[in-house]
Symmetry: C2
Amino acid sequence: MKQQPKELWEKQLSREYLYRGKIVNLRRDLVRLPGREEPASREIVEHPGAVAILALDGERRVAFVRQYRHAAGRVLLEVPAGKLEAGEEPLQCARRELAEETGCRGGEWSRLTWFYSSPGFCDEKIHLFLARGVLPGELAAADDDEVLEPVWLALGEALRLLQEGTICDGKTIIALQFAASLKV
Amino acid sequence: MKQQPKELWEKQLSREYLYRGKIVNLRRDLVRLPGREEPASREIVEHPGAVAILALDGERRVAFVRQYRHAAGRVLLEVPAGKLEAGEEPLQCARRELAEETGCRGGEWSRLTWFYSSPGFCDEKIHLFLARGVLPGELAAADDDEVLEPVWLALGEALRLLQEGTICDGKTIIALQFAASLKV
């Protein structure tokens, strides 16, 4: 898997920015596919990247946030998460986001994995961290444009919500599947 | 979780399309947050939705595709997947995509789950299916703008690649975590 085989690689011919926004940019690139004459176009959403945190307190309760997601048109139950700021290290971002969204501090931190959320059209990478034994604390002032509610659920209850399909956010499913498999 | 609490809901004030493309649209909406005077803007990527398939043959080998992803700038190993066409049912789409990408037909199909890939800015839903006992067949002609390579891996080998972090596509991680937990 280390070497990229020549026969799949696409050569970029041009790059055009259609929008530069607050959170995302949108590009349309032309690429040449291996063995094809005609160029193909690729719509690419650029995203700064994000972190997500599987945080457990001393009683094996899992931290969640309930948040209205305008893209989904509904309230979702998700693990704490947030976007990387310019130059910010993923672990530093994860500690900041967990504190901002749940008030928690401390804990033993480790990195679980990272993944592309939807690599067919978007470059967003999500870095997933585990924080065990976090300590409750004061909620800091929320972001200006975010309203959310922290929720703590026993790990077993969280896994039940996962199994019954109540949880429908990709990064949260991955975090809880890790929780189930790691026996954290 | 059934009822959406009033205090999180955002009221949409306006909607403006910035781009209507081949695969994605981009909107910028203004919303009013609960308890806030100033409207907030939301950049939303519209996507038709997608399917992904955890397909196993009679020897418990898992179907993958290797594909260059321009957004990632590299070749990724992913479970077979594809976008919904207009009016297409997810199961019908999943059967079509599996046949197109691997040549497989038949098998016992069931729905595993669905999820938002990145609901902070995108409405893409991914419907994940399980297909057991699929039968190898002839590869149909590929999409005009896709070049990919089907790969079959023993389930144990696939789970090893998951554990070592070689697999870094969200939907593929979810599919393999299901495979591990379901003992398929």
